[in-house]
């Protein structure tokens, strides 16, 4: 319940508010409240858009963001990978509000580029330990009962470049391998039931139709619990780069398992140990042993504003800290924020829907005195999991594990408002 309280004392009583208005009103009548600054041309001159006609309807049949928002795009870190076809780009978290990621800004991760699957040629096959192997068309899939759910999808390697220390300057790059959309799809368990799963079945192998034939093993129980085959995101068809016409949705689990361009599900009794769950997506510990099948995404948060790509430009005074938090095990029940490097923490205000395995938006508002700050956020989920420090993770896992870095992020805000990615004692 703590998160329901406002983070700063800005509440004003109705009577006080009215009284304030009356005072201001009478001051205006007396004509004494006149600004001493120079008048702005933005007000005193008529701009083009207030005088001339703008574009008519249909100038852009599929609408685009304002031309002033051109910099709000996904970005790639070129040195990370050998080629863009097997690579990743990053969601511009520092430019987003609320909890929903616009479809065109959802980060991309491909292994052999974007498959351009013709929906008329799309087929989903279920085979293996089933009573009868089945084939479904897109039309078939859409005839099953549909569900709508908002889920985050996070790459297990999100923040993976930060295991050895602060490296990338911007939450787009440190935390941008996450997005959060509303999926429309059908229950995987309904599809499996059409084929009839045999009693000795324990695992599913899910496989994509792209040129990497991406395949992963998923425990059957997870498939029956809450997995969806989605064909829409945020109300429209999946984008090609997100698996059009159909992808698997594996709520709360690492993004690599959410196979795009889903073409086949084989039912089996043992895991497959595919390349993406042996060579990759296994977590190497300091002792040389590696954790495998590390599916769940731990509770995590990051302050998106201010951040290195979004410095404070207004100087001292009332300042809004905004960020996102999520957990693969449930909802986020609390987010704490510090501005003094962890000496003191303040419970932030979670605003907007608090949905299972979805991004949550949090705010903390304060009066900035213009002195340097060390900002962090710490999320706690509905299972009581507390987001750890990066050093706490390193203590348990070392620095070679690449995946599942959900450690607390520190931003150093300098006196001028510039922000740097740092780590602190």
């Amino acid at each position: 319940m703590e998160n329901k309280k406002p983070a700063s004392a800005t509440t004003t009583s109705r009577r006080g508010f009215l009284r304030g208005g009356l005072v201001a009103g009478s001051a205006m009548l007396a004509g004494s409240a006149v600004a001493k600054t120079k008048s702005e041309k933005a007000i005193t001159e008529v701009p083009e858009w207030s005088q001339l006609l703008g574009d008519g309807v249909d100038a852009s049949p599929y609408g685009k963001p304002s031309k002033f928002e051109k910099s709000v795009v996904r970005k790639n870190v070129e040195w990370l990978t050998a080629t863009t076809e097997s690579s990743v780009n990053f969601t511009p978290l520092h430019k987003l509000e609320g909890i929903i990621t616009p479809n065109g800004l959802c980060f991309e991760r491909h292994h052999s580029g974007v498959a351009e699957v013709d929906p008329a040629q799309y087929r989903l096959m279920i085979n293996g330990l089933v009573d009868k192997p089945m084939v479904f068309t897109m039309e078939d899939l859409k005839r099953f009962p549909r569900e709508n759910h908002v889920f985050f999808l996070e790459c297990a390697a999100n923040s993976g470049m930060e295991w050895r220390g602060a490296q990338l300057n911007g939450c787009q790059f440190t935390h941008g391998m996450v997005h959060n959309v509303m999926y429309t799809g059908v229950r995987l368990k309904d599809i499996l039931a059409e084929a009839g799963v045999k009693t000795n079945a324990k695992w599913l192998m899910v496989e994509g139709a792209d040129a990497s034939g991406m395949n992963r093993s998923v425990p059957l129980q997870k498939g029956l619990d809450d997995c969806l085959i989605a064909f829409a995101m945020n109300g429209e068809a999946l984008r090609p780069e997100q698996g059009y016409p159909a992808r698997l949705v594996v709520p709360g689990w690492e993004g690599n398992m959410w196979v795009k361009w889903l073409r086949r599900i084989e039912v089996g009794d043992m895991p497959w140990h595919a390349r993406e769950e042996t060579s990759k997506y296994t977590d190497l510990m300091e002792n040389g042993k590696a954790r495998r099948f590390t599916w769940e995404m731990d509770c995590k948060s990051v302050i998106t504003n201010p951040s290195p790509q979004a410095p404070i430009v207004h100087g001292k005074g009332f300042t809004v800290i905004s960020g996102v938090a999520w957990s693969g095990r449930g909802t986020v029940s609390r987010v704490d924020v510090t501005i003094d490097g962890g000496k003191n923490w303040h419970t932030a205000r979670i605003d907007g829907p608090s949905l299972n395995k979805s991004l949550h938006r949090f705010y903390y508002e304060f009066e900035w005195d213009g002195r340097p700050l060390l900002m962090q956020s710490r999320a706690i989920d509905s299972t009581g999991y507390v987001q750890p420090t990066k050093d706490a993770l390193r203590k348990v896992r070392g620095i070679n594990s690449i995946y599942h870095n959900n450690g607390i992020q520190t931003w150093h805000v300098k006196a001028g408002g510039e922000v740097e990615n740092v780590e602190i004692s």
Partner: protein, 225 residues
């Protein structure tokens, strides 16, 4: 003694709580599963066309065989441009060979020989995804030959005339098979065992690491961004 017993109980309880219940399949909780009569049965030819996966116990392996030295010729013409003549990896393309004894070091090199737990993964992956940009173009015999050559390059077999086939495939054991463990998370304290500190949590704070020093961020113009 009592303390350690209690600790053990807590550990056991948390294992039960956090382990994904993969061995207990609960399909009947919500009553009998409804069928909708949608879709159609797949033909045997359709299943054969798509069912290309191979598992550690050898299930899924096609008929065929290939010799390591024949694999070398295919490797040179179709793989070496990215993976290097010796499997060392060109630029940032994956390294396939070497890395033995590096997994505990600061610079672990995870290759087929040093890291991959099962040989089936090599066959399955090469068959479905390689060569990069020309997937599923290799014949089954070519995939056997390439897999045999990768074993030879990684010194898991020592004879370039080694022939890999469906029959001897699952007898090959990879050196790192035993070094994979279960997921023990959560591996940091929960609220129930350690409440996070809120006030006067530390006296001094110092910056210990900075991104600016490393300077690897793609160009950011904060005015534009």
């Amino acid at each position: 003694m009592l303390k350690s017993v209690n600790l053990m109980a807590v550990v056991m309880a948390s294992i039960v709580l956090i382990s994904p219940a993969v061995s207990v399949i609960n399909t009947k909780a919500a009553g009998p599963q409804k069928k909708f009569g949608l879709g159609r049965m797949a033909t045997a030819a359709e299943v054969k066309a798509w069912d290309i996966d191979v598992r550690p116990d050898g299930r899924g392996l096609p008929e065929g065989q290939g010799k390591a030295s024949d694999g070398e010729k295919i490797y040179t013409s179709k793989c070496a441009a990215c993976h290097g003549d010796f499997g060392e990896g060109v630029d940032r393309w994956p390294v396939l060979v070497g890395g033995k004894g590096t997994l505990k070091s600061d610079d672990p090199v995870k290759t087929i020989g040093s890291y991959w737990p099962y040989l089936s993964t090599v066959f399955d992956y090469v068959k479905r995804a390689m060569p990069f940009g020309d997937a599923q173009s290799l014949s089954n015999n070519e995939v056997y030959a390439l897999t045999a050559y990768l074993l030879f390059m990684n010194e898991i077999v020592d004879d370039e005339n080694f022939v890999l086939s469906k029959n001897n495939f699952s007898k090959i054991r990879m050196p790192n098979e035993k070094n994979f463990t279960k997921d023990p998370r959560p591996d940091t304290p929960l609220m129930s065992s350690k409440k996070p500190c809120m006030k006067a949590c530390k006296t001094a704070v110092k910056i210990t690491k900075r991104a600016r020093v490393i300077d690897v961020t793609p160009t950011i113009d904060t005015k534009k961004n």
